[in-house]
């Protein structure tokens, strides 16, 4: 019986979710559109209604940028571990490193890789 609190928590959780959804259904604005039944696309205009074609090239570009900046941040972790022994020298080193990363970001920005509102294609 020691899990009773957990079960109650679970029930309350589901209850709140149901209440929220039904409230939304009761009072929310009803604008029947053809988009409503389509899969959600992370805030980008929908370009593919059955989600079975290849992705837009822009996604690859974004993925590529994410890959780079995400991975380069891995160098920050060992630095934080030994930071207090490195002193001002280590600080300047990492400052230079982040400066170079910022250069990369500036490059991507200037070349228009961050304009990720792709034009809507015909479907």
């Amino acid at each position: 019986m020691e899990y009773i609190g957990f079960l109650m928590f679970f029930a309350v959780m589901i209850g709140i979710a149901l209440v929220m959804i039904s409230l939304n259904w009761l009072f929310g604005p009803k604008t029947p559109q053809e988009y409503e039944d389509y899969p959600y696309e992370c805030g980008v205009p929908l370009y593919d209604k059955c989600a079975q074609t290849t992705f837009h090239q822009g996604y690859y570009l974004l993925g590529l940028l994410l890959l780079l900046f995400d991975i380069e941040a891995a160098f920050l972790f060992p630095w934080t571990v030994v930071y207090r022994w490195l002193g001002i020298f280590g600080f300047i080193e990492m400052f230079l490193f982040i400066l170079i990363l910022t250069y990369g970001l500036l490059y991507a920005w200037k070349k228009g890789a961050l304009n990720w509102q792709f034009e809507r294609e015909e479907f």
Partner: protein
């Protein structure tokens, strides 16, 4: 606690490396070839970290960190080239990019 011998790490990493190598040879899709290359590079990481654990050193982990970062850079360039190939001709198979022979 029973420690794992260093040969076990090498066995895993060799298996991964051979898988990557086979993938590069057998697969035809450009992105899959690139993924196989990354697999081969990550096999090296496993071996380095295993060797480090065996010897109680840290240089291997530093090397592994560099491999992770530079493999990402290489993958980024590779994906860029694949996008360029795709834009140019709408192909994504290694069989279709054989303009140069001789």
């Amino acid at each position: 606690m029973k420690t794992i011998p260093v040969e076990a790490y090498f066995a895993v990493s060799t298996a991964l490396f051979v898988l990557g190598l086979l993938g590069m040879i057998v697969r035809r899709n450009l992105v899959t070839v690139l993924m196989s290359l990354e697999l081969a590079l990550n096999a090296v990481n496993v071996a380095f970290v295993g060797a480090d654990y065996h010897m109680g050193l840290v240089e291997g982990q530093i090397f592994a960190l560099f491999i992770i970062a530079l493999a990402a850079a290489e993958a980024a360039v590779g994906l860029g080239i694949i996008i360029a190939i795709f834009r140019y001709r709408l192909v994504d198979s290694t069989d279709e990019i054989t303009d140069m022979r001789g």
